[in-house]
């Protein structure tokens, strides 16, 4: 699978305030990536940088290998996006809005517009004025708009925000349907961990503008996160010994590791064989929510 989106060392400052710090991420074709973080973590800023609404202070965005800052039109032609709440011209119908925005893309016919409207389930209301649309319908119209021109990447910012349960279900089904053939890469920023868990193939946690964790969802499902405490002076050695388990140092100099039950035995044996005493083993996270709280500094432990 090819890399379709590559963020390289992105930094963004507003005045003296650092919003994004050295954020790097690669997204492969066909993946559904959930971008998760607390309020003010920089998710929307990052998404606006990905689509060119904000210019990074430093760093580069590549879409299909094309630099967004060097050849914006070519790079962005592969992206469909909905940033924050989708807003349209209220006195125009859904169809008129799509038709207007179709002018910005190459070779989009009225048949294409009708096709995307049907895809998002708006064919019966597409000729109604947008001011009569519910938020869920606007969200679907936003997705229809983002899909005009068959983009390779769909970026949606908080698509479940303020939606009623029925609309959440509809949007979830829609995203699943879009992702079915594995050609469309989708990036979803959301607070809704349940939705991220049920939709995404990968999850990225962001906190204070930094990437704190990037994992495949299946790794999270298969592994339990343990925190192993060893004497502080031996932490470096332990990390070195466990490097093939992708062990990480925590703020309190413990070692955090995500493994299944069998691998845990291997981990412990390797430490003991090297005469590293184990002072404590804690099961700290088993699901996405616990992992999120753990990674973003939430005070949550499973004993």
């Amino acid at each position: 699978m090819e890399t379709v989106l590559d963020l390289v060392d992105i930094c963004k400052n507003f005045g003296r305030k650092k919003i994004i710090s050295n954020f790097s991420m690669r997204v492969k074709e066909g993946r559904i990536v959930g971008l998760v973080g607390p309020n003010g973590a920089g998710k929307s800023t990052l998404i606006k940088i990905m689509v060119g609404l904000l210019k990074p202070t430093s760093g580069r965005v590549y879409i299909n290998g094309v630099s967004l800052s060097h050849d914006y039109e070519k790079a962005i032609s592969n992206v469909g996006c909905i940033v924050e709440n989708p807003e349209f011209f209220p006195d125009m119908s859904g169809f008129e809005n799509l038709n207007y925005f179709a002018g910005f893309r190459k070779n989009i016919s009225k048949e294409n517009i009708a096709e995307v409207a049907a895809k998002v389930g708006l064919e019966k209301r597409i000729h109604d004025k947008v001011k009569k649309y519910s938020l869920g319908m606007k969200q679907r119209l936003g997705i229809a708009l983002a899909l005009l021109g068959n983009p390779q990447i769909l970026i949606t910012d908080e698509p479940f925000n303020s939606l009623d349960p029925t609309s959440v279900y509809e949007i979830r089904q829609l995203v699943k349907m879009l992702a079915k053939d594995g050609k469309l890469t989708i990036i979803i920023s959301s607070h809704n961990l349940n939705e991220i868990q049920s939709l995404c193939t990968d999850v990225v946690f962001i906190k204070e503008g930094r990437l704190v964790l990037k994992k495949e969802m299946k790794e999270i499902a298969a592994a339990v996160h343990y925190r192993i405490t060893v004497p502080e002076e031996l932490t470096e050695l332990a990390l070195h010994l466990l490097r093939d388990f992708q062990a990480e140092r925590t703020a309190d100099s413990s070692i955090q590791i995500a493994v299944n039950g069998e691998d845990l035995n291997g981990v412990l044996s390797r430490l003991l064989e090297n005469k590293i005493p184990i002072r404590e083993i804690k099961n700290v996270a088993q699901n996405l929510e616990e992992l999120y709280l753990l990674s973003t500094g939430g005070d949550f432990h499973v004993s």
């Binding site: 011209f89 207007y100 910005f104 190459k106």
Partner: protein, 347 residues
């Protein structure tokens, strides 16, 4: 590329023409035009030259020669007074009067050389002060108010065409939809210029059609005088002159306001700034009355003025120069606005 650009232009034009703002201003312009035509037609017979326009009693060439001789005599007398006057204020008044009288002679000689008969209905005071004589022009009466409303309307649209996207929130689609910011802005500016030109054309065509119906194409002279030249035009000539004149004016005002909206990206602020600018454009000549005339060409509020384009000691003695300067301002402000806009963060 060009087909896509044209397609985008067409869609932006359609959206703007069907916007509430455009429909509102268009309706007001149409109503004002109808009211102006009605009033002009209704009062035709009460005017001294009224419906006899074109057959007004011109006086003979001897009358014109007498006026010219009297004026020349008075100029000599003024020069004599100037020689013996030492008081600076008084000298300044005499010099001003000489300037006025010399201009009057220029006009008399022009009438003579073009075999245009002298008429008591020419307002020579207006010619030497304002620069044009409009007593014979129904055109000014019929088209002035619609044109002013049109310029204000297009100026408002210039401010809104960019800022509306930021107020509504559609900028998130517009500026991520695969066309660079520069091209989007140029398309929007193109729409404003197209609307400006077509509105000017339609209003003035209505005036022209009315004039041709009423008086035919042989209509009498509208005399114009700049500081150094005099010329005259008929109905059709005045139509083309007005078209160039008002298009230049609109071009300049809309260009500036459009690019101000690029800086503010906010409906209210852009409209307030636009209103202040329009006020200055309308009244600039009075506000900056004492400015050094050599520098006046650089002051946009004196050089571009709705009421005083051919004004006292006019800055532009030709509409072509006026058009050129307007385009130059548009290009400079355009380059600055786009350069700022394309680097700006859209939060």
């Amino acid at each position: 590329m060009s087909a896509r650009f044209f397609n985008l232009f067409r869609k932006e034009l359609k959206k703007t023409v069907f916007s509430k703002t455009f429909l509102l201003f268009s309706s007001v312009i149409v109503v004002t035009l109808i009211v102006s035509l009605h009033f002009y037609y209704a009062t035709l017979d009460s005017e001294p030259y009224g419906s006899s326009y074109g057959v007004i009693p011109f006086e003979d060439s001897e009358e014109l020669q007498a006026h010219l001789d009297n004026n020349e005599e008075y100029i000599s007398e003024l020069y004599g007074r100037l020689e013996v006057t030492t008081d600076s204020n008084r000298r300044s008044l005499i010099e001003k009067e000489i300037r006025h009288r010399e201009r009057l002679s220029l006009i008399y000689r022009y009438l003579q050389s073009h075999q245009i008969p002298y008429s008591q209905y020419y307002d020579f005071g207006s010619l030497t002060n304002r620069g044009y004589e409009d007593n014979f022009s129904f055109f000014v009466f019929v088209t002035t108010f619609p044109i002013i409303i049109m310029v204000v309307g297009i100026a408002v649209l210039s401010a809104l065409i960019v800022t509306n996207d930021f107020t509504i929130g559609t900028y998130k689609f517009v500026y991520t939809s695969g066309v660079s910011r520069t091209k989007v802005v140029l398309v929007k500016l193109g729409v404003i210029l197209a609307l400006l030109f077509s509105s000017c054309l339609l209003i003035l065509l209505a005036g022209l059609a009315f004039g041709l119906l009423l008086y035919g194409n042989s209509g009498k002279y509208m005399i114009m005088a700049s500081y150094s030249t005099v010329f005259h035009v008929g109905i059709t000539g005045y139509f083309f002159l007005s078209l160039l004149n008002f298009f230049s004016l609109g071009l300049f005002i809309c260009g500036i306001i459009f690019f101000i909206s690029l800086f503010f990206k906010n409906n209210v602020i852009s409209l307030v700034v636009s209103a202040i600018l329009l006020f200055l454009f309308l009244n600039g000549y009075n506000i900056f009355e004492y400015q050094n005339q050599d520098l006046a060409i650089f002051n946009v509020f004196t050089s571009v003025n709705i009421f005083d384009v051919f004004s006292v000691e006019p800055v532009f003695d030709s509409v072509w120069k006026y058009l050129g300067v307007s385009f130059a301002y548009l290009l400079i402000s355009g380059a600055a606005g786009i350069s700022w806009f394309k680097r700006k963060d859209f939060c």
